[in-house]
């Protein structure tokens, strides 16, 4: 078991803060000396992974990550820059062929700030209140001005959707999100059944630390590719940031129309798309309807396998959850799955419109999707390319994931069923594109030690 030093790891890498407000400051770094001063000025306020005492929770957090061009701008030594994994050096825009970022998802449709490729740094502020958010962001702007080290290109707001005056875990399509982030060794978290990997005797165990942090052994017993020197990479991780626009009107129309034709009704069809009812109940555990008591219990709400449902009659074989986290569905004791996990942090952005009220696709709303992993190529890119945009591993041929797949209007989603008229086989055809990519990039989230080295220009690659 690896002992990890939580004070050296940025908090964002280790846990979801569960704060309802956020702003991701997308920065351009200026002259390298000023930029380093800016990083130095940030060091004392960067939130680490240390546990907070109950009454000492901060009102806001600060975390910092860089694109490869950002690290170039900071003038890290050439040898270090070239030692980063290839996909991180290329950046997400150049990887479009692999990720199926084509058609409506291609960079020519991205927000200008991403299309132009000038984002060097991601400075994330998460806060408990809107006031705390503004206060912290103002402080960040002050540091930028004082050091002259960075310029704000855009602040991307994101935050929990409020329902009945309270922050919820809902996203814009109405699903409850935030379950099932992977457990890994060394993280100070109780291992929740369903989140780690399955052992041979059906228990859930934490994954190797090296799947999510650099400098530690991964599931294959190796150290994942990390930059040199060792201290630059250690305790750092990689983040995939994707701004996913949601076409809520199209989704609601489609679900309404198909729901009328489907024997189980609209809500059940919505559940079949994802593998959870919209309240979060896993459909494997409760195939006939949502069950609030399961959702409320962390020991149950992600504790299920697909072994008892090989035909997909409860959770369709091509459903979102079953594709991105196959659990035991591929056999081989998880050997094909355990190195393909990602840690998700994400928040919705844009105004929420309740069901039944008029809504337009063009309005700015969606989700800021962030995935953390030690190897972007082996983890995120693989899941995106092979399991979301393609279906061979789940024996669904070229069929894509119904909700987030890059659809051209001719694709289909098969809901497997039984002879029960409330759970019939049903084919959803002509899938429209519900989610569109509006930009993003690959980031490196350094440890505190690495940030100090970057700030003082003491990255020494041997």
């Amino acid at each position: 078991m690896s002992e990890i030093d939580v004070s050296d790891i940025q908090g964002f890498s280790l846990k979801g803060y569960n704060f309802p407000c956020a702003r991701y400051l997308l920065l351009e770094l200026l002259h390298h000396e000023a930029a380093r001063d800016f990083v130095k000025a940030l060091l004392p306020v960067i939130t680490t992974g240390e546990r907070w005492d109950i009454d000492k929770k901060p009102m806001s957090t600060v975390n910092l990550a860089f694109t490869h061009t950002g690290l170039v701008q900071l003038q890290l030594p050439m040898v270090s820059l070239l030692s980063f994994p290839v996909e991180f050096q290329q950046g997400m825009k150049a990887r479009g062929d692999i990720l199926y970022d084509t058609g409506k998802n291609s960079p020519k449709h991205w927000d200008p700030v991403w299309k132009e490729g000038r984002v060097h740094a991601w400075l994330a502020v998460n806060a408990r209140t809107a006031e705390a958010l503004e206060e912290r962001c103002a402080a960040m702007q002050q540091l930028m001005t004082e050091t002259g080290g960075a310029r704000l290109l855009q602040g991307q707001d994101a935050g929990a959707i409020y329902l009945n005056g309270r922050p919820s875990a809902k996203e814009h399509f109405g699903y409850t999100d935030g379950f099932g982030n992977p457990d890994f060794k060394g993280a100070e978290r109780v291992c929740v059944p369903g989140q780690g990997k399955l052992t041979g005797d059906g228990r859930w165990e934490a994954l190797a630390t090296g799947e999510f942090l650099l400098g530690y052994a991964d599931e294959a017993g190796e150290l994942p590719v990390a930059p040199i020197p060792h201290l630059l990479g250690r305790n750092g991780t990689f983040m995939v940031y994707r701004k996913l626009h949601q076409n809520v009107a199209t989704f609601r129309d489609y679900l309404d129309a198909q729901g009328k034709l489907y024997g189980g009704g609209k809500e059940k069809l919505a559940a079949k798309f994802v593998g959870r009812w919209r309240d979060g109940t896993p459909i494997e555990l409760s195939p006939d309807g949502p069950e609030a008591s399961i959702v409320a219990d962390n020991n149950r709400n992600t504790d299920f396998t697909y072994g008892g449902d090989p035909a997909g009659a409860r959770c369709p074989i091509g459903a979102h959850l079953r594709r991105v986290h196959p659990r035991d569905a591929f056999g081989f004791n998880g050997g094909l799955v355990n190195r393909r996990r990602i840690m998700r942090r994400g928040l919705p952005y844009g105004e929420f419109v309740p069901e039944g009220q008029p809504v337009r696709d063009e309005d700015e709303r969606g989700i800021i999707f962030m995935a953390l992993n030690a190897s972007i190529f082996r983890q995120f890119e693989f899941v995106q390319q092979q399991w979301v945009e393609y279906g061979n591993d789940s024996h669904q041929g070229n069929d894509k994931e119904p909700l987030v797949g890059n659809h051209d209007g001719t694709g289909k989603f098969m809901v497997q069923g039984t002879a029960d008229p409330k759970n019939p086989p049903f084919l959803c055809g002509g899938l429209p594109q519900f989610v569109e990519l509006r930009g993003g990039d690959y980031f490196f989230i350094p440890s505190l030690t690495a940030l100090a080295m970057i700030a003082t220009g003491t990255v020494d690659p041997r």
Binding site: L261, D408, G409, T410, K412, F426, L427, G429, G430
Partner: protein
């Protein structure tokens, strides 16, 4: 017999390539040039020898040096590797190659030592067998249906998916009638053409998006 798995035969042939120092362009290079321009889809000669599942031709220049302490050594000739997987038996396959795609066979094997041409089929078969190397272990995932049957099945599969999408929710009588029409169309469709983009779809389908 280790060359065979079910009804699939796995043929491996290593034909030494003629070495001639006097040539400006050696046989290996010419062969590579020819192979680089040979169609790989339904216009491939192997589409015509329609019992072929997957086939490859490789100019093997040399063995590999894996590094010290292994010894470095080299082949004195280049070899043309022909690896192919097809239905049923070797003699029929070789005969078909000679009879149905003689220009292709000539164009490739004229670069190889001892090639007798295709006009004498027996001599050609004897030559190929002399170049054949025994498969030590052969794995075939699907070994109990012919290429034709597999292609027809792929066609049925895509036609059925489209049918279900189109007729979902209609009355049983309508579905029954239309299904009868589909069965008729499938039964009367011309044999599928292997190797191309249309190999797995019904002939009358139009796909403007793809």
């Amino acid at each position: 017999m280790s060359n065979q798995s079910g009804q699939v035969y796995g043929l491996t042939i290593l034909s030494p390539i003629i070495e001639d120092d006097r040539l400006d362009i050696c046989h290996s290079m010419e062969l590579r040039w020819y192979l680089g321009h040979l169609p790989r889809d339904h216009k491939s000669p192997f589409a015509q020898i329609s019992s072929t599942y997957l086939a490859r031709l490789v100019v093997m220049d040399d063995v590999v040096y894996v590094g010290a302490p292994a010894c470095e050594e080299h082949l004195k000739s280049h070899y043309l590797v022909f690896e192919t997987n097809f239905d049923w038996d070797l003699e029929t396959y070789l005969t078909r190659l000679a009879r149905e795609t003689p220009e292709f066979v000539d164009a490739v094997w004229k670069h190889c030592v001892g090639y007798p041409g295709v006009s004498d089929i027996a001599a050609f078969i004897a030559y190929m067998k002399k170049c054949q190397v025994e498969t030590t272990f052969f794995f075939a995932d699907v070994n109990n249906r012919t290429v034709q049957k597999s292609l027809e099945a792929l066609r049925t599969q895509s036609a059925l998916a489209r049918f279900i999408a189109k007729h979902q929710g209609q009355s049983p009588a309508e579905v029954q009638r239309e299904f009868g029409r589909l069965l008729h169309a499938i039964a009367h469709a011309p044999p599928p053409i292997p190797g191309g983009d249309e190999s797995d779809r019904m002939p009358q389908e139009n796909r403007p998006h793809e």
